[in-house]
Amino acid sequence: MLEIIDETENGVAICRFRGRLDGSTSTQADEHLIALAGKEVGDLVLDFSELEYMSSAGLRVLLMAAKRAKKGKVRLMLAGPQEGVKQVLEISGFASILEIHPTREKALQAMAS
């Protein structure tokens, strides 16, 4: 089960991921992020603080989003990954290709700077 909640804070688009991002929910997440990119929301923070679990199917979604962001010249940041999700990001080397902040506040500060 995965729930994605769209919010904005200080004018920055935020997607709050809640639940599990795996092979059973990755298509839903991918479609959600593609739709957002289509609306040209600009810079985007993915708030992972309520994401309990992620597998490589989730990394595929993140990689696609990062490639779209780069092409569209917008910034994409991850915020607040829990320990298990963080380990998956680190082992895969994604921690070095994505901008990851410990909290949403820190991500928003980085966006503003």
Partner: protein, 137 residues
């Protein structure tokens, strides 16, 4: 404990629920449960995607046990013979433009588990994983 998963990605949620039960029963650290979950998730997903010509065929058997500090998971399926550990190790240092996710799942298994092996016996793929509860990775 033993359970069976149908060839349907929705079954990943049941895999997670079964592992949670196993973890509670054996009083395992949540981190270990999650690592075993990722490893099994990746292997099960591969079997679902590539193991069968008929995308809904097959039943995957999972058996979990604990012997002292060792958690053992045995995964078996009757899909086409495939040794996941023959897959080439992905380059995790490439820049975004050149990255792909192919091979990362099995890479997680190698990194998160303490031991892993593959056998093809009596028409079944059998993957055996061991995770030490007191490990620090």
């Amino acid at each position: 404990m033993k359970f069976f998963l149908q060839n349907d990605s929705g079954e990943l949620q049941r895999l997670a629920a079964e592992l949670k039960d196993f973890g509670e029963q054996e009083k395992l650290p949540p981190k270990v449960v999650q690592q075993v979950n990722v490893a099994l998730d990746e292997l099960v997903t591969n079997v679902m995607l590539y193991g069968y010509d008929d995308p809904s065929a097959g039943v995957i058997e999972v058996e979990l046990s604990r012997d002292g500090e060792n958690i053992t998971a045995v995964l078996s399926d009757d899909g086409r013979p495939f040794d996941p550990f023959q897959a080439k190790i992905p380059d995790v240092t490439l820049p975004i433009e050149d990255r792909s996710v192919g091979g990362l799942g099995v890479y997680f298994v190698r990194k998160l588990m303490d031991e892993y092996s593959y056998a093809y016996e009596n028409g079944r793929n059998i993957v055996r994983l061991t995770k030490r509860v007191d490990g620090d990775s």
